[in-house]
Symmetry: D2
């Protein structure tokens, strides 16, 4: 059995990690870290686990944790892991970081967008960006995984094949994203109250959202050139789910079949990326609770643009599910172990 | 592997059966019956199963089906199974009926409340009411299971121990129930449109809902006397979940601890019924997607009444999950097989 | 023009007062009191009023306010008004209190249920309980109005005629209430976050909710005897609306027509209480945004109980609308002035 | 008093017309046309009007109606009005058409996108596109108003000033739109059931939505050149509201202040278009139930694009409210008469 510890276990992503790991036959959770709830029963914070989990919340002493477990998941605020990680820990336990600390290779870009000084820049080089469909082999050998952001996962997977195949012009990419409210976390803020979010939709972080440089870096790797794009997230009155609608100009004359072949080329053998049939639009509900990303596209011949769409559960493939997918790779398990839960509908 | 067939596979309960059976290691679904979608791919009706299920929908020929499978689930309108079942089928396959056809032992009561003539009254006696926490041993030996209604499951489990222990006066029971909208089915009706249900709550079927006699029959068995009660269901703007709030007068002076002991006496060893800690109210969200029923109570000394509460996912413990729990018992499998999915939160 | 001041203008009830008063032709708001937002533009807190309101938030100096306006609305936490009110103020301005401070005549009951020492018990006697359909004449002459609680308004109006006519047994009353989330206020608490409330229903304050004694006091006045009842509120995933479902045993043999006549007797001439046609259940959506209360009933001959139902917008008839209805009476205006907004559907 | 008749009074837009006209002091509704509900009380279809409207539904005989009223609102399926309108009617009554029949000047474009043969092409030239903020003077003199579509209203108003001022490149416009579910109408379809829409978001009509040519035509008038753009609508789990997020490349170097000045130039005196303060994103909730459109913008210097945002209630400014605004202009009333309802929050 793999021994796992979670720091930040009482946030929504932490709770989802617990839900999924409870169904993973090779893992046992040894450490429920939560600074705010130290000493309280974990199942009193998340009553869904009542009678299934007896443990109490522990603090976030990552050093002690590294001695106790094989893998550490950090679902913590930006800057936490970079401030606390030390090289020696990585010799004891694998670390899968759900924060942004090690996602961006250029430390200046990180510091500019996050307005935080990076405290462990020496480890950025080693960290592997944990998007298995793209970086599978590097992940297998890693010690430190930068688990991708929710928006970047869905955006990158939806656009990647067309950039890779040179079908679209990178300078024309616009990503209009919509997210359920769990992405905003469990903090008590007026903006996230039921009555403020319900029956409402708005854009936020327009032209300034921190996931922008992460998406640009990943797409630049695919394009083989620098990418600058527009990314606009919106808050949608639902608990879970991200839908991205991305636009780009076609660089050359391509048929629907050629585009489909490009997607199939990259995802034909991928369990978790499903290229939908022609004219079926991805819907977040069809992937809820699962690790799937549903993608599809539509070419508009009038404007010579292609519309790329992707739907995903932000807490699963966008956070905890992908973290476990990475863990499976790190420990040589079948990649889908514990992750074949069917989406729940309705 | 147990071979299973589903009639009514494209309703919400049918879809949930499929979701849960996909995660059951001992079952394979051989027949997706759906009169409305014959010949269409099942995964085109429920896109959550895209790439996971290749099968097409078949018709509802239950006789042919009985030859092909070990167990038949009928998630069909009232009257369907009674009209089509024949004794010989039960020699070939176990039948688990999610409709109301065989739930009520008194055929006159059934015909009066359902306004249907019962076409197979000779099988009512044999059918076993499939509430495992109460009828476990009878279920194991049955051929035909009457899978309980959603409201009756939650109501009965919440009230049963106190009636059994003679703590409450049966003539004073009032059940105020609240259900998510999936309970209304997938039929296209104006009343179930998003804009009609959303931001709205109403009672319906007041003093006339068909689950009333089913609840009364089960509680009468517990009380050892005839029970007549009020049952008022309400439609709540959410997909899943049933909450029942039941009221009764205490027959004798009892302490909180004695009441708790009564619940523990019946449910202490039950995996799927969770008696919450004092002063924790059941919430439907804490059981969503799972087979758990969370129950608790509060005594009001001022009025000498007890308030009994139960929360459950109507599609799981209230339908498909309970059906699989019954199947596990019928086939000698561990009762919780395939049913230990943790509730999804948020 | 009547000059009005609001203390607590940035809570949900305060915001609703502003919305409704903006459409009242005889009132101008001179004071937007909000301790938390002093100096900020009111329309920056409630953007719905952008370009329609220029004023900034002021503090909650009720003494100064009494000099500046004709009527003061206090939408403040329990205890605030009792701590700050002085007899002299009532000579300068009418006060309509949306808190519970002056609703309950028995100060001991207030102090016991609210766990607050009442700081102005000498004014309790003078205060008039502002339920116009019952206390209209007393309201006209009052200086201090105790604006009823949301649950008590809906509960009392739904049950009152039958108690008054001696048709139901007061000792058997059970009120099962359901409320939208705006009733919980705009405070930043985890329990009120979108992801905690959405797709969820729960009871809360079981057997201990503070509106219980208020309802009991009002119903006792109707019954002419002490009333002790069960009141159980539930939190429903919607912004607005209260539905109450009340149960009582009939004291005598009555026909549907006789019960209907009792309701019509009290509400036939009331604009804001609508007795629905037979078998039409009240729905909160049908009254949203309006000052209407829709009531109806169903007799269950099997159990000899009657089910009484009422639906209302908690922020309008349950708070701000009723306050304005009281104001109209206090100032000799037509009672419906500014309150004939049609409910918004969907 | 202006006598009004409505054809299609039982759809959502029809119901909203009734709600708003009930609060309009110069109008009385004489005809509630609804083919599906002929002879039924209107208030039994929309219970929100119980006791406020006594009338029964009449048929859709537009010829008879033209004799009876001063103004006819048609909230009917595409093709209905064009099939029934005759020149003589326009001499008797003004017609405000909420369908698309007379919105598009080029009949070929209409027939291509709507797949309907236009039955009254001779009246297209006379019809005035009823967007008062742009066509005010022409509207005043019209007999036949083509009331704009919901998406085109919000899209056009959000983008218009910048095209008019030559600030953006028309060939780069992309409109990503999000709508509440009332836009899909009150027809009983599985796709619009509560459980299908709730907790879900999806794009639909990608690159094929019929509002595309209407938007293009209006923006072409502003740009002074042909416009081809991408328009992608999404279905959001809420009753009301449209948010559009539009993208375009800047044609020249402009400051934030210059862009703001452009908006103010066109909307500074407009009551119903509110240009929000810098960095405040429009939210649909802030305009719910009202005739306001909130717009704002953000320049992304990195990509040289501008993001234009607009929020609106699809049933008010996007349908019934705008129709009344047009009616006010047609009859020489103050343009805002009956339309100054404040948005409802929450």
């Amino acid at each position: 059995m793999i021994k796992a510890g979670i720091i930040g276990a009482t946030g929504y992503a932490g709770g989802e990690l617990v839900r999924l790991l409870m169904g993973h036959k090779d893992v046992e959770i040894k450490w429920y870290g939560s600074r705010s709830y130290i000493g309280q029963e974990y199942a009193s914070v998340y009553q869904n686990f009542f009678e299934r989990i007896e443990d109490k919340c522990l603090d976030d002493n990552i050093e002690e944790l590294a001695d106790a477990v094989d893998v550490i998941f950090t679902a913590t605020p930006q800057g936490f892991l970079a401030s606390h990680i030390k090289e020696e820990m990585l010799e004891k336990a694998k670390v899968i970081d759900l924060s942004a600390d090690f996602r961006i290779k250029d430390v200046k870009v990180y510091e500019e967008w996050y307005q935080i000084q990076h405290k462990a820049p020496e480890l950025i080089g080693e960290a592997v960006y944990g998007l298995p469909e793209i970086n599978r082999e590097a992940i297998r050998k890693a010690r430190l995984i930068a688990n991708p952001g929710c928006y970047p996962t869905c955006s990158t997977l939806s656009i990647y094949p067309l950039l890779k195949e040179g079908m679209i012009d990178p300078s024309t990419i616009i990503i209009d994203a919509k997210s359920g409210t769990s992405g905003a976390g469990r903090g008590a803020k007026v903006d996230n109250l039921y009555c403020e979010v319900n029956e409402n939709i708005k854009a936020y972080g327009v032209a300034t959202h921190r996931h922008t440089p992460e998406i640009e870096e990943q797409l630049a790797l695919a394009a083989g050139e620098k990418v600058m794009l527009n990314f606009t997230p919106h808050l949608v009155p639902m608990n879970r789910g991200i839908l991205i609608t991305a636009y780009a100009s076609l660089k050359k004359q391509v048929s629907d079949e050629e585009v489909r072949a490009a997607y199939d080329n990259y995802y034909g053998k991928e369990t978790f990326v499903r290229v939908l049939k022609p004219d079926v639009c991805p819907q977040t509900k069809w992937v809820e609770g699962s690790n799937f990303v549903d993608v599809n596209f539509k070419i508009d011949r009038r404007t010579n643009r292609i519309i790329m769409m992707g739907a995903m559960d932000n807490l699963v493939k966008g956070a905890a599910g992908q973290a476990i997918q990475n863990m499976n790779l790190l420990f040589g398990l079948p990649e889908t172990e514990g992750l074949l839960l069917m989406p729940m509908f309705p």
